[in-house]
Amino acid sequence: MSFLRPTAQEQFGRLYFRPGAQNLMAVGIRTVDLRKVYNSPPPMAAGTGFGPRGNAKGSKQPKGQVAALDGLALEVTPGEIFGLLGPNGAGKSTTVGVLTTRVRPTSGEAWIGDYDVWKQQVAVKRLIGVVPQRPNLDFSLTAHEILAFHGAYFGQGSKERSQRSAALLEKFKLTDRANQMVRGFSGGMMQRLSIARAMMHDPQVLFLDEPSAGLDPQTRILLWEIIREYNQAGRTVLLTTHNMEEADALCQRLAIVDHGRVIAKGTPLELKASIPGGYLLRLRFGKQPELLLQRLQSLNGVREVRSADGAGTDVYADRGGSLIPEIASLAATSGAELNDVHISEPSLENLFLHHTGRSLRD
């Protein structure tokens, strides 16, 4: 055995497994018709970017009220890595807030395992670990003290605290900073320490709100590795992201969230397969006569043509580059000039665009 690479469970056995019945069964997450209406602009902790969206057309809220969640329903299977994907202000952070006892829902239910989050808060707090969107580290303490006190809040003895703290600092490459105040830490270091802190009490369910924001690519990969290992030790992970690559690489299942609702869910593969054709060609013409759009629709392999106001046209199709010559000649015969072409392969970005008409980066 010894010459084999240790499995995740062996490697992290000491860090993640404590004797106790709780480890036997992973814990799931469920929300039912979750609604949250803010009477004033939501606090930073609940996400950003709500600004003008509250006045979107069709909104029934009186002025000043912002509906962050609008009947959100989720079901996260015990032991999976689940991703909430959506643009800023979609309601991802508010969902995490509700599930982690930080944001009181206006109506609806939120469950962690068998516990109703808003009726059995203390039991829920024991099960969860939370990495917030903005680091909220205790500025009066050193890195080691932050982990040690966090362990103490969860009833760990002093020996256990120092062992776990040392192991986590090592894992997140912060050992040489253990005894420094976190005030002087860089954004990436704070983020890593936040994640280490959330893992300190070995929670059954780990919430990560935009975990890789502000991390350099190398650290991001280290983080993904750590999240996967944590999950393999039987823990449930819920993360939010607006990064396609991250959702695709890390999550076993995803829910795409927009305007406080789930607009699509499934495995990354299923979701990508649901995009008509798979390829997306974003075209820009000098002007676009109606006739041209109809002709585009009739090209071989084109599944759907959508034209936004102005000169942009989105073509969903089974093939990508090979369509371009045909499109160019169609445009020429229709008297429209083809100014710009962008081809993207099947991706979650396209999926989001398909469902919402907006890019994730908008």
Partner: protein, 254 residues
């Protein structure tokens, strides 16, 4: 209730207070000691104030130190931790009801207020010698505890109600008038030639703190009756604990 978690929260605050010890000492004692020195020593020795003013002044200075320390020790961290750094969130996620975190803050503030009050006595005594004290130990202990509780609970209520931008305003609009109209530098009976003011200042809890300490430290000076002091301090304690917990609860969840 989860005592291990509660103990760990207290340990965290004690640890941070120890780390900032020097700063805390300067913050707590510099101002009252300068005041004691100028009014109790310079003014008295030069004959502008009578000798007995020293004994009258001591309870007032002690009340100011306790109130200032208790309010500061709770309000400032609460304001910063909630609004700017959000660092309180980690403790709000500890496995204990949120209101116990508020109770922990009050207890930590009380301990600091008690230390501040009790250290002022020997320091002032050294500076003012000779000063005549006639301490009623039981009454004194009860009053200091009530005053410590009201300062810490008041700090919690203020800290949960004040925005970071308004900290300066909090001190100039709330604490400064409280101190000057709190019968700290003069006994309440000295206001008898200002009958309206004498009634109005009764809404100021600091009045009962100074008068209560005066009654239990230097009873030979005129002071409010012990019953009035206890009833009023108890009333303000309950009121501020209630408001503080309510405000904290609503602030801790969005």
């Amino acid at each position: 209730m989860n005592w291990k978690t509660f103990g760990a929260l207290l340990a965290r605050d004690a640890h941070v207070a120890r780390r900032n010890g020097f700063q805390l000492i300067l913050q707590t004692f510099l101002q009252p000691l300068m005041f004691v020195f100028i009014f109790g020593r310079v003014m008295v020795q030069s004959g502008y104030m009578p000798q007995q003013y020293k004994s009258l002044l001591l309870p007032g200075i002690m009340a100011i130190s306790m109130i200032f320390t208790g309010v500061w020790a709770v309000a400032m961290p609460v304001i910063a931790e909630f609004q700017f750094t959000k660092e309180i969130e980690d403790r709000l996620l500890a496995p204990i009801e949120n209101s116990w975190l508020a109770v922990e803050k009050i207890i930590a503030g009380m301990v600091q207020a008690l230390i501040a009050g009790l250290v002022v006595i020997p320091l002032a005594w050294l500076l003012l010698r000779p000063v005549e004290l006639d301490i009623n130990p039981l009454g004194f202990a009860a009053v200091t505890l009530l005053v410590a509780l009201f300062s810490a609970a008041g700090g919690l209520a203020l800290g949960c109600s004040v925005n970071q931008q308004h900290i300066g305003l909090m001190f100039s609009m709330v604490l400064t008038p409280m101190i000057f109209f709190g019968c700290t530098y003069y006994p309440w009976s000295a206001l008898k030639s200002f009958p309206i003011l004498q009634k109005v200042v009764l809404i100021n809890p600091l009045v009962y703190a100074s008068e209560g300490l005066r009654a239990t430290l230097v009873p030979k000076f005129p002071h409010l009756s012990n019953i009035a002091v206890f009833v009023a301090l108890l009333f303000f304690d309950l009121l501020l604990v209630f408001i503080g917990l309510r405000r904290f609860e609503s602030k801790s969840v969005s």
